[in-house]
Subunit: 558 residues, 2 copies
């Protein structure tokens, strides 16, 4: 019996939506050769990560084993699969394999970050094969909401793995390769699939997914019936939707204008990579100003309510000269990701105040998902017939439900959230190790650990406000004047309309005057006393215990 | 022609979901006698109001006209209608009229706040009439998700107003009075309705609403098929749902235990007010521990993911001795209010990790709304046949859509967001004034204005972190030692792993050393320089401009 084993380890993306990052390994225990599939980001929110720009997976485990890492594979160019590549690549410095469109996007990011673009290698679709160490990897076209999403066939001496990546079943996807059952039957006929790692995002959607191509007629009707200007938003990377929207606009006799840098970049990247052709001619915002409103259709970024994107800008007034008016129409050709509802509704209400008619996806009329729903997942399980199924790309509840679905169909399955190392060598997945994983925050230009306390302090200041107390002591440890109090994020007046800062200063002065010589000589103890009194007084005066920063300055004779 | 006019003025609730507060007036212009209908709160969120406890309407306009205010009417005991009554009543000190259940809840709140409970007056349903000034007001039972919600018939010399309050059409509401078209036909037959102010919450829901009574069978099936303990959550004030759930649990052979103070309080208030009877016997958490898991059903607070409520507590481990386990079932018999998704999903995923089966409302199988959907609204418009319709209780988009629906049916209608005073005297609503309205934050025990800057500073600290710079100057305006820097919510290391505080201190010291005597002598200018340098340095070192607090201490000879 061989001592080699085949392992799977998610470092991100399993137990959350976002920051996908999956490791496969083959070899003797602890010496497996490794590949990394995807390196994505997650997005911060005010509740848990205020001020943070991006959330990245903590890949320390992998960074400690660079001598064992063969290569990186990126399945597609969505941010939750490629977004952490440029920030984290310097820790890995391995070749990156992906298909052409993904490479185009990846290289743009590498260029911006000053990284070597030649490290991103374009791979054709299967049967083209990348051989690295004990792995033979092929890219299999699947339909999704971005061009050239690809499942991976990963062959190892211990068997074949089918890594689904993000996919849906779409026989007419408008842009990119149509879904074809035969393609997958062939893979299985060639060599049975030992393990399938599978997208779980839509496992709770019980109806069959719908094709991108079903949207065109309804969109055309909507746009045709609109009396003023029409603005539509969707994900900038959903090139097929952009084409569907633009063509519907053209069919309704409108000139198309694209607003928003990320959207333009995606369209030109898709054209450059050869996956998009026949996109209707577009005009610049300046040219759009010359087009009668009822002949104009604008495609705008910001479907998730992002404050700086074009949709939000237009909801606040003029943007690049363009302005929405009474009687215009705004279309969300998109689904709101949980957590983004308030931002989206803010835009909707702002448009409502302008008299703009806002239309949302209306339960699928103007939007279809890019992920496989439950019946589609079941269909693919039956196509691929894996010995075992490992759900990925989902919150814990998605992974668990997906395991339930697979188990009911008689497939061995396991919930493996981030950090769970599975041994796939045998007939069933076996948990062999728990690896420490976590999140890094890209905060401005700094990378900080999610548990470093930095963001915790921000949250505390946001919830409790901050009192800064400054105290100057002379050489005899006697206060030189009263302590000085500054308030940030706290009401200026306490009970009986007394200024809070003055109350604090007076009370602190009194307490400090009573402290022993020993305490006055000890910074830690003195700080602790000041902190305690400050929190007591704010509690009495304004009903909340503030955060406190204490600055003690001791003057020494020169 | 009379110089008297009939006015309507929303101070809250129109243009937002929450803090309902509507003024009606009758009399000569500027001297109208006034009544206030409802005084509710809205709920804060981390994005816009971190650390805030409750959001209240700014009723300064009304508080300035106390000599004209006749009384306060509360339509029902939901927090968004009654929640601001206790905190703001001391500014108004007028009699409060409401039905018995609402009064029971109101008096509990008044007691806690040390306010005179005898100021809350119980009114029977129509034909009972409250006469205050030129107003005759009757309470009309409507169905909703809390007992004794009441529309108001407000008679004035200028005509009859029908204030719908929150309602749905439910002919079998489990708790409370069934909907009866005849009741409304009678009102109209008695005297035609001049203006109807109407709930707009569900105007975008295009299907007919469903009765509370339709839920029982599906719930019983679900609970019967569950193998372990069942925990169900819903709004604590939804007494009908609590009864539906408890009865379904009993039908499935389970003992009922209620977890969560607010839920218990609502049940006993409903029993005390005589609107709830036959609620199944419940056991305490201690007694529940003795019940076999498969014979136990728990009703728990926290359907919106609130961190301190019973549902969240149970998702984190033991709560009052009770604990969820592998194979148990948790039911959300509720809808997630936009903005609360993340909190709800956090609970769902925590349960998933425990192996608990989580069931959500599944598109209406286990939850029905308490508000009238569009077809129901249209039905009521036809019943009441008002000359004009003024949508209330909704975001701007809801109000606007509701106006569209009314206008299509040939009813004069107007969008009147908070602060819009309408003259209803003529045949159509006419905007006559814009009144300043706004939001107050109850923050601990302090009331602060939403625009006071306090919360803005908290948000800035959360997004940007804070640097506190302390500088001590001698009598000659010379620095005594280096400036001292404290960081809060900022990474400790800047570029090249240099400690950020040290870099800041060194750079500030250098810049301060070069400042002119004039600047050194001027606190404002010196502070401005320090602030500028601090922001530049943080930008260079960590890629973000921090917030800055500067404390300059000038030592004076004693």
């Amino acid at each position: 019996m061989s001592a080699n084993r085949l392992i799977y380890l998610p470092l991100g993306g399993a137990g959350e939506i976002g920051m996908n990052s999956y490791v496969y390994g083959y070899g003797p225990k602890g010496k497996e050769r490794l590949i990394l599939v995807d390196l994505g980001v997650a997005f911060p929110d005010m509740d848990t990560s205020p001020g943070v720009d991006l959330i990245l997976p903590d890949i320390s485990w992998l960074a400690d084993k660079l001598d064992r890492l063969e290569a990186i594979f990126i399945t597609h160019a969505h941010e939750d699969h490629i977004g952490a590549l440029a920030p984290l690549w310097p820790q890995l410095e391995k070749k990156v394999y992906c298909r052409k469109f993904t490479a185009t996007i990846g290289r743009l990011k590498f260029e911006e970050a000053g990284l070597p673009v030649n490290q991103i290698v374009v791979v054709e679709a299967r049967p083209a094969t990348v051989e690295v160490g004990p792995f033979k990897v092929q890219f299999v076209p699947v339909s999704h909401s971005i061009p050239e999403s690809s499942a991976l066939v990963i062959d190892t001496p211990a068997g074949r793995i089918f890594h689904s990546a993000d996919f849906k079943i779409d026989h007419n996807p408008v842009v990119g390769e149509a879904w074809d059952d035969a393609r997958f039957a062939e893979i299985v006929a060639e060599r049975p699939v030992k393990a399938m790692t599978c997208d779980s995002t839509n496992v709770f959607s019980t109806h069959e997914g719908r094709s991108e191509s079903t949207l065109g007629p309804a969109l055309t009707d909507l746009i045709r019936s609109a009396s003023g200007m029409v603005v539509a938003t969707t994900f900038g990377s959903n090139v097929a939707r952009l084409k569907t929207l633009a063509e519907a606009g053209r069919a309704a006799g409108r000139t198309i204008c694209v607003l928003g840098r990320s959207m333009k970049r995606m369209i030109s990247a898709a054209e450059e990579a050869g996956v998009l052709s026949g996109f209707p001619r577009t005009v610049s915002p300046e040219e759009a100003l010359e087009v009668p409103r009822r002949n104009l259709m604008v495609l705008a970024t910001g479907s998730q309510g992002e404050r700086r994107a074009a949709s939000a800008q237009l909801s606040r007034g003029k943007y690049l000269g363009l302005e929405m008016k009474d009687g215009d129409t705004f279309l969300f050709s998109s689904k709101t990701i949980p957590g983004n509802e308030r931002g989206v509704l803010r835009i909707w209400n702002a448009y409502s105040e302008m008299g703009v008619n806002v239309v949302d996806d209306q339960g699928g009329k103007y939007h279809v998902s890019g992920h496989a729903n439950r019946p589609d997942l079941e269909h693919v399980h039956r196509l691929i017939l894996p010995d075992m199924l490992i759900p990925m790309h989902g919150e814990h509840r998605h992974l668990r439900e997906h395991v339930r679905v697979a188990t009911e169909a008689g497939i061995a399955a396991a919930v493996a959230p981030n950090g769970t190392m599975l041994d796939l060598t045998g007939d069933v997945p076996e948990v062999v190790e728990h690896v420490e994983t976590g999140r890094l925050y890209l905060d401005g230009s700094a990378l900080i650990g999610a548990l470093d306390g930095v963001v915790r302090d921000r949250i505390r200041m946001a919830l409790n406000g901050l009192v800064t107390v400054t105290l100057i002591l002379d050489e005899a440890n006697k206060p030189m004047g009263e302590p000085w109090v500054e308030l940030m994020g706290l009401p200026g007046l306490g009970r009986g309309e007394r200024p809070l800062a003055e109350t604090l200063e007076a009370d602190l002065d009194e307490v400090i005057g009573r402290l022993s010589r020993k305490v006055m000589a000890d910074d830690d103890k003195l700080e602790e006393e000041i902190r305690k009194v400050t929190r007591q007084v704010t509690m009495e005066e304004i009903g909340k215990k503030s955060e406190v920063t204490v600055v003690i300055s001791r003057l020494v004779a020169e």
